[in-house]
Amino acid sequence: MPETQAGVHVAGLRKTFFPGTVQEKTALNGVSFDLAPGEFAIVIGSNGAGKSTTLNAISGELPLDAGTVAIKGRDVTKQPAFKRAGVMSRVFQDPMLGTAASLTIEENLSISARRGATRSFRSGLKKADRDRFRAALEVLGLGLENRMQDQVSLLSGGQRQSLTLIMATINAPDLLLLDEHTAALDPRAAELVVNATLKTVGRQNITTLMITHNMEQAIAHGDRLLMMHEGQVILDLDRAEKAKLTSADLVSRFHDVVSDRMLLN
């Protein structure tokens, strides 16, 4: 499979929380999909469908019961999260989680600019770094490039999330994972961050997996649509199929698939 070799390969992810207890909960029940290089896939699904668990499993934050994750043909399933960070980056739903609050903006960027590289006793911030960070921040249009020595704790949620996005993409990753990264923001900030996301991802052609609960966003953007339900991918639409889709379609397709399954069970 040449496509698998070059892109992202996710196969048979399984995860059950609290197995063998009354709280037993199967969050992932065989999640599989492949992403072509540069593909921008959107993931939707009801609450508790297993979307976040899928992303956490891919990033290595959550140990799996079974399954394989391979990036560019390299199996990373056994690697801890910090090792996988060499090839993938993340933006979390909570804007507080993606940055180190007690460090300055430029210090945060310095950490991320060396993601995947070995760190040494060299200075963490050189002039060339600062120029590069300034240019990257300018793209956001938030004026953060003039506040590079401010502590991140001084920033708003939207600003922090925008910074996290820049940190995640300053070295183009092989895979970018976005987990409802605009859900905690006010509508205006959310729009800014979405636009910044489309711009950065598009410009660098980054393979991206983005969870959203916003149907309009899911329909308007991306090359691919994955719908999850009860720990499985129940709908997988390519660009052409997706282009014909409306919000109402999506809801009815969801109900069709779900009721078919109920009948089968």
């Binding site: 910090f82 180190a100 060396r114 590289a117 006793f121 911030l125």
Partner: protein, 296 residues
């Protein structure tokens, strides 16, 4: 008038003492502030540093190797605490208590007895300041130079790629992992650094008072914490430089308060109670204040 005169006479000594304890305060600040990982190992690594240094001086080693090995022993104590915390998933507080308890026995083994006197040996102070060990003010000047060196090194390190990474891990471990940082590695290194500083404080103290004792660690953690909190109240902690200087400045001020308490007639044995009350007030004040504000 009498009280003032007594205090005036105590100022030089209290400055020197504050400077000795400033090393420990720095070693307490690192886990509590930079790593956000409360750690009590200083209570054991401070006397460990003193014991190793005293035992080596008494065995005829030079001052430099004695202090170097004291510092390395402190690093090792920090590593052990970190590894217990990370491997057995016990809280850093408990890991530190286990280590400091074990160190009590280790320290007696190191010295071969519960204490070692150094009056007849050359120390840092007699070597640098003359055979009488120098006056309190020259001792203070010597310690200030040492502290400046330590602070400069710490400030430099915390701006290197590795130092930035360590601070990031202390601030947000999830972010650290997402940015490719092995959080365990940085926690181990951070507690090792804290151990180095606490042990350096102990080695300096042993030479300062020409005496090492297994019980000399009792209460140093709270003294270090008091110094850190006091320094932060004076300097703030919004910039890294202030955060590094805070324990030192705080420690110097703290021993001024100690000198005042002594001039007011408190006994040295009352000091631990007063220090505890001070830390309690410093920790409780912001909470009480916000409670009062929300009530009004």
């Amino acid at each position: 008038m009498d009280i003032l005169a007594t205090y005036w006479n105590l100022i030089p000594v209290s400055l020197a003492q504050g400077a000795v304890y400033a090393f420990v305060a720095l070693g307490v600040m690192i886990p509590f502030r930079l790593l956000n990982l409360p750690d009590l190992t200083a209570e054991g690594s401070f006397p460990l540093g003193a014991a190793v240094c005293a035992a080596m001086l008494a065995a005829g080693f030079g001052i430099a190797p004695a202090m170097l090995f004291a510092v390395l022993a402190g690093a090792l104590a920090g590593v052990v605490t970190a590894v217990i915390h990370l491997t057995f998933k016990v809280t850093s507080l408990l890991a530190g208590i286990i280590v400091l308890t074990m160190l009590f026995s280790v320290n007696i083994r190191v010295m071969g007895k519960p204490n070692t006197a150094l009056f007849s040996y050359e120390t840092l102070f007699t070597a640098m300041l003359g055979s009488d060990g120098g006056s309190p003010l020259t001792q203070f000047a010597l310690l200030a130079v040492l502290l400046a060196l330590v602070c400069g090194t710490l400030y430099w390190f915390l701006h290197t790629e590795l130092g930035l990474a360590m601070r990031a891990v202390g601030s947000n471990q999830l972010m650290g992992r997402a940015q490719g940082l092995s959080t365990s590695k940085y926690v181990i290194a951070g507690l090792a650094m804290a151990g180095c500083l606490a042990a350096l404080g102990g080695a300096t103290m042993a030479q300062y008072q020409s005496y090492a004792d297994v019980n000399m660690g009792v209460g140093v953690l709270v003294i270090g914490l008091a110094g850190t909190i006091l320094g932060e109240a004076i300097l703030g902690r919004d910039k890294l430089l202030r955060q590094i200087l805070a324990p030192i400045v705080g420690s110097l001020f703290y021993f001024q308060f100690v000198a005042m308490a002594l001039s007011l007639g408190f006994k040295p044995s009352d000091l631990k109670l007063l220090t505890g009350l001070f830390v309690l007030c410093a920790l409780g004040f912001p909470i009480l204040r916000s409670r009062w504000r929300s009530r009004v």
